[in-house]
Amino acid sequence: MKTEPSRSASIGFDIFVAIVAVAAVMVVMSLLVSLAIFVGTLDEFAESRSSEINKQIVMNYEGYINSVIETANYIQFASFNLDLGRDAAALEAIYRSNADIKSDVVSVYLFDGSGRRLIGPQLDFGTGNDIAARPWFRSALALEQVFHFNAEPQTSIAENRDEGVIAVTKAVEFLDGGATEEGVLLIELDRQAISDLARKSNLGQGGHLLILDEAGALLYSSEPEPRAMSERSHRLAAGMYLGAERAVIGGQEMALNVNTLVHTRWRIVTVSNVNEINDARARLLGISVLILAISIALSAAAAGYVSVRISRPIGRLKETMLRIEGGDLDAPIEVSGQREISQLSHSFTSMVARIRELMASLVDEQKEKRKTELRALQNQINPHFLYNTLDSIVWLAEHKRNKDVITTVVALARFFRISISKGQTFIPVEDEIAHIENYLTIQSIRYVDRFAYDIAVPPEMLGMRMMKLILQPIVENAIYHGVGDADGRIAITGRLEDGRMAFAVSNTGYGIGEEKIREMYDIMRGGGERGGVGIRNVYQRLKLFYGDAADIRIDSVPDESTTVTVFMPAQPGQEG
């Protein structure tokens, strides 16, 4: 059964596409998932890092503020049982030593409730009268329990000191002449300390920190002048009271973290550069694309290799099968390739071998059968002729034509010797010619020279072999049909034509019509049953043995001649 090579794709192509598609889908999916996880982790990492930095900075400030508060508490504690009236010198010493010990404390003062200086260094000229009006003084008395940090731009109130300071104040009680009085403790901190603390932090390129007061006003920015980012980061941070946000400031991705500052109502805002996340993300994306390309290329190569390994032996097997399908049973069968393929090839090989065996035995059987048939056909010729000839001999003997009887009997003897020819089917052309000469001899005696004949066979054909008893029935036919009138002629010519032998037997006479010729062909091919046994016998024997290589042609020229030509393969003079 022959199937058309369908339009569906080949095995190799299917395997290739399947492998590449699966690999591509898997790689893309795993890349997407890992990319998502990675970017998420990266974000988390950046968030936690910026919040850690923020915490670190806030802790630095807390430590600083706590140390200031401890100083204030210590001063209060140390002066607890000291009376301003009795122990003024001791109190002065406590205040002065605390101001001196800490490098960032500019000065320490105690004022009474009206803003009069009680302890502390000399005031700067002209500042003495307005202490009670200063915001830090008023707020300390307004809310007694807590420390007040005032970061308004201001310089120290102490004489000969002009540092920028932060005023830390608290309402305190003190003893004066045995009575408990209320006053205000002031510690002036060097503003520089805040900047120094900010400098310790690493917030990345463009990173800075802001300190906002409770109203959201900017108390401090660590960004160096000119402050390119502070304005925007301050605006962003103004609405934030805790937590973190991301924003792009000045083209950089920044994380804003807000925290409270201990003992104050201030907020510290750290603005740290997390732009590296963008870089890392871009780098990761690039690497992912590269991995994708490489893995697809690799899988394509692997898929190509595998598909070729599988499909090529199959393809070769297919070609072999096609050839065998076309009839070439001896085509060599490729048995290499994967195990399945070679098993398939082996099975196919043994199948072909089996077919070959079967065919060979079939051919043998056919040959045997043909031989049998051939023999039977050959055997049909003789009795008929023998009867006629013996009839002639009887007739000759009755007419006392002894010489003719001798000639006829001798020819008959020769005729039969050749007919028998040791049981061989094939005989040299020379013998076949001799055979018909004997036959013609017999017939010419029988028909008393009512016809003339002549035989012309080129000598190179004489040594060739041919099936015996082919020409005799044809010649017999020619005599019966052609030799009606006197002067009849029978010509037997042999020639070689396109590697075939052709023997033409022609007889003079009325010729035969088209219809008759068609009828004769029909008879030859076994159509009708009547007459022409001889020529049909010849035709069937030729076809039996030579197949298409042999043929019989009948030509006729009306009122002139009829020619029957027998074609058969030219066989050299060896036993065939």
Binding site: V58, Y241, T260
Partner: protein
């Protein structure tokens, strides 16, 4: 074949149906949540403690959790005495959309930022244990404070002492060991600069003054609320004031207990009649008063060492907080409020004096 395939198919259909059903249920419950608000039943409340290592706070937190049992789910956080950590915890909790937050701030001034932050998120706050500044409380009408007035503890402590000394400033009883009409007192102060320590000390002294009692402060020692530190410092104090000492007033129970331990070693609190209990009429007995009402303090009072303490009524506070929380979450109709809500913001719980 059929018996094996059929149940399998039925099973698959069953699983699909179950998935569909659960999805539908989920969608329905989400829709119900969106429409009705899930707050009433599964409301979550953040409970932020300044430091769980403080035994008072630990007990207080347990009382709050017990009281809140049915009303809401309290999720507790311990800041470990760091405002930074508490800020982080609050930030993390905001993301989980709690119905309310109960905050015991580490730094009372940080309340300013917390109120502003939670106002923006519309999450009501109940502060406790540390009172934010009044001006910060005024920022938003959904922040509350439940607590005691620190002044009151000092006043009550003074009253405990004054009643022991006979309640008559001009005629002190036998506990004025020297008979000089003046009470010689050692004061153990909490943390220097700590709001409560300052207030308790000041109110103690002011109360004596207001009632006309004469006192002589032998010493004011800062022992940072700690028992061990009080024990250590009491040693030195006794060496110089042992003979004159008539009263020890401590800012809290822990320091009072530390002081008693040292005093026992120095020959105070003798059990002369071998009754197994210390007798306050014994010559070696001196009144020690604390504040807080720790379990150990109550024990010490029963054994006769500690004269009295002023109990911070944390159970009432916990009840008040839970009632207030229920109201803040569910509106004015959700349950009665058994405590006076001053200015729609403050609930003050009185201290309770505790003596044998």
């Amino acid at each position: 074949m059929i018996p094996t395939t059929r149940p399998r198919r039925a099973g698959r259909l069953g699983a699909a149906a179950a998935v569909r059903a659960s999805l539908a249920a989920l969608a329905a419950s989400l829709a119900a949540c969106a429409l009705l608000g899930c707050a009433s039943k599964e409301a979550r409340v953040g409970l932020f403690l300044y430091n769980q290592a403080d035994p008072y706070i630990e007990v207080f937190a347990r009382q709050i959790r017990d009281e809140s049992n049915s009303a809401f789910l309290a999720v507790q956080f311990d800041a470990g005495n760091s405002q930074l950590i508490q800020n982080e915890q609050i930030e993390a909790m905001i993301a989980k959309r709690p119905a309310l937050m109960m905050i015991n701030p580490v730094d009372r001034l940080a309340s300013h930022a917390l109120i502003r932050r939670l106002k923006a998120e519309d999450i009501p706050i109940i502060f406790f244990n540390r009172e934010p500044l009044a001006e910060d409380m005024a920022i938003w009408d959904r922040c509350y404070y439940v607590g005691a007035r620190a002044e009151q503890s000092g006043q009550m402590q003074a009253e405990l002492a004054m009643s022991l000394f006979g309640n008559d400033p001009s005629g002190l009883n036998e506990y004025d060991r020297s008979g000089d009409g003046v009470i010689q007192v050692i004061i153990l102060k909490g943390e220097q600069g700590h709001q409560d320590a300052e207030l308790r000390t000041r109110e103690l002294l002011r109360s004596f003054e207001a009632r006309g009692f004469s006192i002589e402060i032998l010493a004011i020692e800062v022992a940072n609320w700690k028992r061990d530190e009080a024990y250590e410092k009491m040693g030195a104090l006794l060496r110089s004031h042992q003979d004159r000492l008539e009263l020890v007033a401590s800012n809290n129970d822990a320091m009072a207990l530390g002081a008693i331990m040292r005093m026992r070693q120095q020959g105070f609190f003798k059990d002369d009649d071998q009754s197994g209990k210390v007798d306050r009429f014994d010559d070696s007995w001196r009144p020690v008063v604390g504040i807080d009402g720790l379990v150990e303090a109550e024990e010490s009072i029963r054994e006769g060492y500690l004269y009295g303490t002023v109990k911070n009524d944390s159970l009432s506070m916990a009840k008040a907080m839970v009632e207030l929380a229920r109201r803040a979450i569910g509106g004015p109709d959700s349950g009665e409020l058994h405590y006076r809500l001053q200015d729609e913001k403050y609930i003050w719980i009185d201290y309770q004096p505790f003596i044998r």
